[in-house]
């Protein structure tokens, strides 16, 4: 499949944004609500970041539409279409999210209960939206590499992992990173890493059961080879679905993705935990110590690059069955 940059940006950015949202809600749950009157700027800023990531992603996703002005129509078919469900949930999620932020932003009067309920709904909506995104791909029988049970779960885990690293980096910058938060993120990064490896193994071993012979029904006469294509220049189908990255290329990129998205962040986060063991000077005495900040920032940098490579590969490695009509012998 042709790795369209708008889609890569959308899935990675909104994924991280939704993940961050989930983390912020989680923090709000365990951390105690700000005292009435005082406004928690950092907390708001964090939500703002999440909000920007999510909405930028969603906007980007409409960029590749032929008729963005009709995008609203996409909310209508939630009964059958994961794309429609994604849209619906994405929009719905904004309501509890705003409520959560509003409530949390010091109208403490409204009480902690509402904040938490709204937060829980927002976080749930966020993860559900990401799940739908994953299901859009996972539900397509035409693309073997996507039609796998791990696709949607990995989308959700990566959203939490990338969002987590982001959240942690934020905390670290304000010296507020705690070992258990770091630990939790480490667990998620490791888990998504493990699943992704598993997924790669699965797609590599899953039999490429569709053949040109079955696509054309001519297999009964022997191997099917293209003599003349129907057109001498690539048509839409070939441009959109004909792209498959070369195997050895893919291998290298996979290693890179694994390194950037899993190994490097884990190392950095481990380092981060380590630095926290040696007590860092308190915020009062002029900013956090540099070590944790550096570790967290490095983790974030690697994660961002890693997830982009991972997403590019997700498309570029996916072979569509239609290629069988255009010269591929298996898919």
């Amino acid at each position: 499949m042709n790795p369209a940059y708008s889609v890569i940006f959308f899935t990675t950015a909104s994924g991280a944004g939704y993940g961050l949202l989930a983390w912020l809600v989680a923090l709000a749950v365990i951390g105690d609500a700000p005292a009435p009157g005082e406004i928690p700027w950092t907390w708001l800023a964090a939500h703002a970041v999440a909000f920007v990531l999510v909405s930028a992603g969603l906007l980007a996703s409409t960029a590749h539409l032929g008729h963005p002005e009709r995008a609203w129509r996409a909310f209508s078919q939630w009964r059958t279409s994961w794309l429609s469900r994604e849209g619906v949930l994405a929009v719905l999620t904004f309501l509890p999210w705003l409520l959560h932020v509003a409530a949390g932003a010091g109208f403490g009067a409204s009480g902690r209960g509402l904040t938490l309920v709204a937060g829980a709904a927002a976080a749930g909506g966020a993860l559900a939206t990401v799940w739908c995104t994953g299901m859009i791909y996972q539900s397509l029988p035409t693309i073997r590499a996507w039609h796998q049970p791990l696709v949607a779960p990995i989308y959700v885990l990566l959203s939490l992992a990338t969002g987590g690293v982001l959240a942690l980096a934020g905390l670290a910058w304000f010296g507020a990173a705690t070992p258990w938060a770091a630990g939790l993120v480490i667990v998620l990064v490791a888990l998504s890493g493990a699943l992704k490896m598993r997924y790669w193994r699965q797609v590599d071993t899953a039999g490429r059961s569709y053949t040109a012979g079955a696509a054309t029904g001519l297999g009964r006469y022997g191997a099917v080879r293209v003599l003349d294509p129907p057109h001498t220049q690539a048509n839409f189908v070939m441009r959109e679905m004909g792209f498959v990255v070369a195997r050895k290329h893919a291998r290298r990129l996979r290693r890179l993705a694994a390194l950037l998205l899993f190994v490097a962040p884990l190392a950095c986060l481990a380092a981060l935990v380590g630095t926290m063991a040696v007590a860092s000077p308190p915020v009062a005495s002029g900013g956090p110590g540099m070590a944790p900040v550096a570790a967290a920032s490095l983790a974030l940098l690697a994660t961002v690059c890693g997830v982009v490579v991972e997403r590019w590969l997700f498309f570029a490695e996916a072979q569509h069955v239609v290629t069988l009509f255009y010269g591929a012998d298996r898919a």
Partner: protein, 915 residues
């Protein structure tokens, strides 16, 4: 709830019928117009040619009609020839200039004009124009197209394939397709193949390449190019060996029983034995004496050596034929190696053919009367049919191979019988047709018309157009000793000959509808140099070039004066019985085109322009007694009012004042309206009694004479043995008034064999075949028409560039893989091509789709277009001349009998390029 879709919107507000011209097949189309523009075009269900279907090109006609490559106005060259720099001029300026050029030449020496047209369908007009102008240097494209097929058939049985006749698709049970990719008879063949498939009739394809029609054949014989003569010979060998030929048919309808003199050295050796009354003799077994062969009661001997009254010997044609084909050289074993077809396969095919012909006969209860007045209650069919085209004819041995093919049909008794080959009016004609070519030296004089039409059928050396030394009279050397039976002329030699001044230089080259600087010429680069060659004094060797095209083709760039034509939807055209009609075996028919839209630019129908020029030049027939234009109304006027002979004009339908007459009749002023009202065509169904055995059918022949198809009701006797060819042979042996110069004698002696025989194509013989081991061919893509198709935004998406197709096993041996680039070199030149591998091709053969490559900037395409950057023509590799012979003379790369261009003799070598 489910969206609603408008399933009932009116597709058009007006429908007009006319004739397609996306190719020369002449199908009937319906043009659907909406808001005054063409909305879509589909096939006319009532039309005899295509019965409602349409092809890939025809349905894309709308894109041709609105093509950005269309010319806008007359053009006068301002830059160098070939640079394509012009200024637009008025029609008045253009026509004044043209008539000045043409007038000067006509007053000086009409031969200084060479007027050649391409695949136009107005040759009865253009030929008549040339005749009245007085130049013999006229022909259409037939010489480089398929004259071998036409001439071989016409000299053998007065017909041929395509517009001459077709298989009886309704009844045939066994169909052999030789060397056809697409054919002129495009849709009829497709419709026919569909019928055979539906009936389960067996289709055998004989073709080095298995695509298109050949891909759906029940059996594919991937013959080695140029060897079909051997294959057909071996089939004949088998039929004779197993005694499975139609003897009664041969005796009745052919010259099998005619006696051929056997008196070596004599002036009449090999001619038919005739009595005092010039009657051809046979040996009557009943009386044991020689008797006129056309006697009804005679029982001609088919074998034996007989001594005639003058004590000289003669043998029946059949004996000579049997001696030729039962010889070992035509035994299946003997030809298997060269043809690449196993002996067992050849024997099986022969057996299958015989089985169907003689044991699955069809008898239709149709009463008919033969030429002698004998009535027959039924007509018996031998349901084996064949069709062949350029794969056979575009070789230097094509004429004799085509003859062999027709012999095979005749031996099976399958001409104009149910399930066999069927003539289409105006054929059959006498073998050969009576008209000989005009243009003998004595006939040529300034300002004087020719005594007849420039093209015809020589019946012997005395009909040749040669000077006292035996040199050619025509610029293309047609009807000279180079190509005595060049019945369609030799357009492919004109530019080269004119540039070499051989036989003489010319002043004006006037061409119409032929892309001669590109895909219709051999040796493309050489041709372009010839078109731009200059004399010492700087003037062009070919001083003036006038050309009519409708689009900005490669040839336009090489012209001095361009006369822009309309498209086929903007003009009158006539698909005439005087030319190449649309007849069906059961019904003579002709058709017209008429303006569907009026041009939005300053273009004129070429026929109007030609009539205008004729009038400006005051050519007889083009002006009236007062010197005023005879046809002020242009081509439409001409179509209605012109009469070739009393009562016979371009259109056969709706003649007579009331429009009720067909074939002959007074001029009908309302004729064109009647055609248009009738779907732009007219058919005249034959009575059942006239539909079969037309060559010997009294009712048909008398009808044919009444409408001018033939001059007599004499039966047309099939010429298994061609006395005409023997006459040329005798001349080469030093007999007769007109004899070939020494240089040509051996060649004439060898190739004018009165019985078909096979010889290796010239290029393979005369170049180092070991150096160029592969054969290289082109095929017509079904969705492209020569060069016209690439300006079509739909068709060029299907064929926007071309590949070289190579057998997978051979490719492996050459170290070539799918998609590799290779160099393709011939004894003339070399080019690069990208390879596609396939199974369905003769391993010694490579091929490509024809005419895809375009000159950068031509046809209104981006110079970076794939046609200009990723495509190739084979033409630059095909030499227009054969290698020098000992005496230094170079013949054109053509058939020695007809002058047909030998496109498919090309030999090449393939080498992998390190990308």
């Amino acid at each position: 709830m489910q969206p609603t879709v408008d399933t009932n919107s009116p597709p058009a507000d007006e429908v007009k019928t006319t004739t397609c011209y996306m190719c020369a097949c002449r199908c009937g189309i319906r043009v659907h117009l909406k808001d005054g523009r063409v909305r879509y075009i589909d096939g006319n269900p009532d039309h005899p040619i295509n019965r409602g279907v349409i092809c890939g090109k025809g349905a894309a006609g709308i894109r041709q009609h609105y093509s950005p490559a269309r010319l806008r106005a007359p053009l006068l060259r301002v830059g160098e020839r070939g640079a394509g720099e012009f200024r637009e001029i008025s029609w008045d300026e253009a026509l004044t200039l043209a008539s000045q050029w043409l007038g000067d030449v006509r007053a000086r020496d009409p031969r200084q004009l060479a007027f050649f047209t391409g695949r136009d369908q107005s040759q009865s007009l253009t030929g008549w124009w040339a005749m009245q102008y007085g130049t013999p240097n006229y022909a259409a494209h037939g010489g480089f197209c398929s004259v071998n097929m036409a001439a071989a058939g016409l000299y053998t049985f007065g017909g041929s394939f395509w517009e001459f006749g077709e298989p009886d698709w309704e009844h045939t049970k066994y169909f052999l397709l030789f060397g056809v990719a697409e054919d002129h008879s495009s849709n009829p063949i497709k419709i026919g193949l569909g019928k055979l498939k539906a009936r389960g009739a067996k289709i055998v394809s004989i073709n080095p390449v298995r695509t298109g029609y050949n891909a759906i054949a029940d059996e594919w014989l991937g013959v080695r190019p140029g060897t079909d003569g051997l294959l057909v010979g071996a089939l004949i060998h088998e039929l004779l060996r197993t005694q499975q030929v139609d003897l009664e048919y041969l005796v009745r309808y052919t010259n099998a029983g005619w006696l051929v003199r056997r008196s070596p050295g004599a002036a009449d050796d090999g001619l038919f034995a005739r009595d005092a009354a010039e009657q051809v003799l046979c040996w009557d077994k009943r009386t044991g004496t020689a008797a006129p062969a056309d006697g009804l009661e005679v029982a001609p001997a088919l074998s034996g050596v007989f001594t005639l009254a003058d004590a000289r010997e003669a043998v029946p044609v059949f004996q000579l034929l049997a001696e030729r084909y039962l010889a070992d050289e035509y035994a299946p074993e003997a030809v298997a190696e060269q043809t690449g077809i196993a002996a067992a396969t050849i024997r099986r095919i022969a057996a299958e053919v015989a089985e169907v012909a003689f044991r699955q006969t069809i008898t239709l209860p149709i009463r008919w009367t033969d030429w002698a007045g004998r009535t027959h209650q039924s007509v018996t069919g031998r349901p084996v049919s064949m069709h062949a085209m350029r794969g056979i004819s575009a070789h230097s041995n094509g004429f004799q191979t085509c003859r062999a093919l027709h012999l095979l049909q005749i031996l099976l008794g399958t001409i104009d019988v149910p399930g066999g080959f069927r003539y289409k009016a105006p054929y059959p004609r006498p073998a050969p047709p009576g008209n000989s070519p005009a243009g003998k030296l004595a006939d040529l004089a300034p300002g004087k018309p020719l005594s007849g039409m420039p093209l015809g059928f020589p019946a012997g050396p005395e009909d040749l157009l040669v000077d006292a030394q035996g040199g050619a009279v025509r610029i293309d050397k047609a009807y000279s000793w180079d190509a005595p039976l060049a019945a369609h002329g030799m357009m492919h030699t004109v530019i080269g000959n004119a540039a070499r001044g051989d036989p003489y230089p010319i002043d004006v080259l006037f061409m119409y509808m032929a892309n001669m600087s590109w895909n219709s010429s051999m040796n493309t680069e050489g041709t372009q140099q010839q078109l731009t060659a200059r004399r010492a004094n700087g003037s062009y060797v070919i001083p003036k070039i006038i050309y009519s095209d409708a689009y900005s083709s490669e040839m336009v760039a090489y012209s001095d004066l361009v006369l822009p034509d309309t498209t086929y939807l903007e003009r009158y055209d006539c698909i005439s019985l005087l030319d190449r009609p649309i007849s069906d075996p059961d019904a003579p028919a002709d058709a017209i085109r008429h303006p569907i839209e009026t041009p939005d630019r300053n273009v004129r129908p070429f026929q109007d322009v030609l009539l205008d020029l004729g009038a400006r030049l005051r050519l007889p027939g083009f002006v009236d007694a007062q010197g005023a234009p005879q046809y002020p109304g242009g081509y439409a006027d001409y179509l209605v009012n012109h009469e070739r002979s009393p009562g016979i004009g371009p259109l056969a339908g709706f003649r007579g004042v009331d429009g009720a007459a067909w074939g002959t009749g007074a001029v009908n002023p309302g004729q064109l309206e009647r055609y248009i009202a009738n779907g732009s065509f007219s058919v005249h169904p034959l009575a059942p009694s006239q539909r079969w055995m037309k060559h010997a059918n009294r009712d048909y022949l008398s009808f044919a004479r009444s409408v001018g198809f033939v001059d007599t009701t004499e039966p047309i006797v099939f010429q298994l043995y061609s006395e005409v060819l023997q006459k040329f042979r005798l001349a080469a042996r030093g007999h007769g008034a007109v004899q070939p110069p020494a240089t040509h004698r051996a060649r004439i002696e060898r190739y004018f064999d009165p019985l078909p025989f096979w010889y290796a194509p010239f290029e393979g013989q005369q170049i180092d075949a070991a150096r160029y081991p592969m054969y290289a061919l082109t095929q017509r893509p079904m969705a492209m028409y020569h060069s016209w198709g690439s300006q079509n935004s739909w068709l060029r998406q299907i064929h926007g560039s071309n590949r070289l197709y190579l057998h997978r096993v051979r490719a492996a041996a050459l170290g070539v893989a799918e998609g590799d680039w290779v160099s393709v070199s011939s004894h003339l030149g070399a080019l690069r091509a990208q390879v596609t591998l396939m199974e369905g091709v003769n391993p010694d053969t490579v091929w490509t789709w024809n005419a895809i490559a375009k000159r950068p900037g031509a046809w209104g395409l981006d110079p970076q277009a794939g046609e200009a950057t990723r495509s190739f023509l084979l033409n630059p590799l095909i030499s227009d001349l054969l290698p020098q012979q000992q005496d230094g003379y170079r013949y054109s790369n053509s058939d020695p009998v007809t002058g047909q261009a030998a496109w498919y003799d090309l030999r090449v070598r393939i080498e992998r390029l390190a990308s």
